[in-house]
């Protein structure tokens, strides 16, 4: 039995797609490095390396490469693997469920898929930590990354003339 996720519109993204491609291919695209490298990072960035150990606690590692060639490794692990149905992974835990040091952007992603006629309906949800959590990390002096702890700064900037 798996706990279901309830989206928090302030923190989570839920994207739904219907595509006229068999579910088997959608699953493979999410779970095989040679496929994932082709699409996982929005261009002009790319994925230069990817490692997948497709089982709960198994590694999910992608190395993102900037257009200038700078590389940013991301390591996380899978939490749930239900072939052709459901894939859950997180940046918050390393392989073997060891807690990760605070990373750029803590998230858990849930991907579910089902047949829709001859095609597939899939839903990708990205769950993020709450703002309080982000601020706390900040106060503890962790390196922050994408978007983290910007709220305060932006709120400050909005009060400035010309904003």
């Amino acid at each position: 039995m798996t706990a279901r996720h309830t989206a928090d519109p302030k923190l989570d993204l839920v994207l739904e797609r219907v595509i006229d491609v068999p579910r088997r291919l959608v699953w493979e695209a999410w779970t095989r490095p040679e496929h994932l490298k082709e699409w996982f990072c929005p261009k002009p960035w790319g994925v230069s390396d990817c490692e997948i150990d497709l089982r709960p606690g198994g590694i999910f590692r992608t190395t993102m490469r900037s257009p200038e060639g700078q590389e940013f490794p991301n390591v996380g692990c899978y939490l749930e693997v239900v072939p052709l149905e459901r894939l859950v992974f997180t940046s918050v835990l390393l392989p073997g469920y060891r807690p990760a040091p605070a990373g750029d952007l803590p998230f858990t992603a849930i991907v579910t898929m089902e047949d829709r006629g001859a095609g597939t309906r899939y839903v990708a949800a990205a769950l993020h930590a709450d703002e309080a959590g982000r601020d706390k990390h900040e106060a503890m002096g962790f390196h922050a990354g994408w978007g983290k702890a910007l709220d305060q700064l932006v709120a400050l900037a909005k009060t400035l003339p010309g904003a």
Partner: protein, 113 residues
């Protein structure tokens, strides 16, 4: 919607704690390089590098007055980073667009090997 490359640059610039602290300081008003460097235990050339990143991204502007270079914040650029969730959505949308495109290629390859 913001330019993706610009958003990337802005987020990268903001990803560093020193640079965020500089921005917080500048949000209170303009300051010289030496004022800005003062709270940091860092060699001046390294610190100036951080300022250069911020200026290149357009998050701050500087002007030389006499022998002193004064920095000020550039609020419009900060708004690029404003809607954090919108940026995340942009990232995921772009990712899934690429996935769908790739899936169509995979399917075509299977049908016409």
């Amino acid at each position: 919607m913001t330019q993706p490359a610009l958003a990337d640059d802005v987020f990268r610039a903001l990803a560093d704690p020193t640079r965020r602290k500089v921005l917080e300081r500048l949000a209170k008003g303009p300051a010289s390089v030496s004022d800005l460097a003062e709270p940091f235990d860092m060699k001046l050339p390294s610190f100036v590098q951080h300022l250069a990143v911020l200026e290149r991204t357009g998050l701050v502007k500087s002007k030389k007055t006499g022998r002193v270079r004064v920095f000020r914040i550039n609020p419009p650029r900060l708004r690029v980073a404003e809607d954090w969730l919108a940026e995340q959505r942009r990232l995921w949308e772009a990712r899934l667009d690429q996935l769908d495109e790739y899936l169509h290629r995979l399917k075509a390859k299977e049908e016409n090997p």
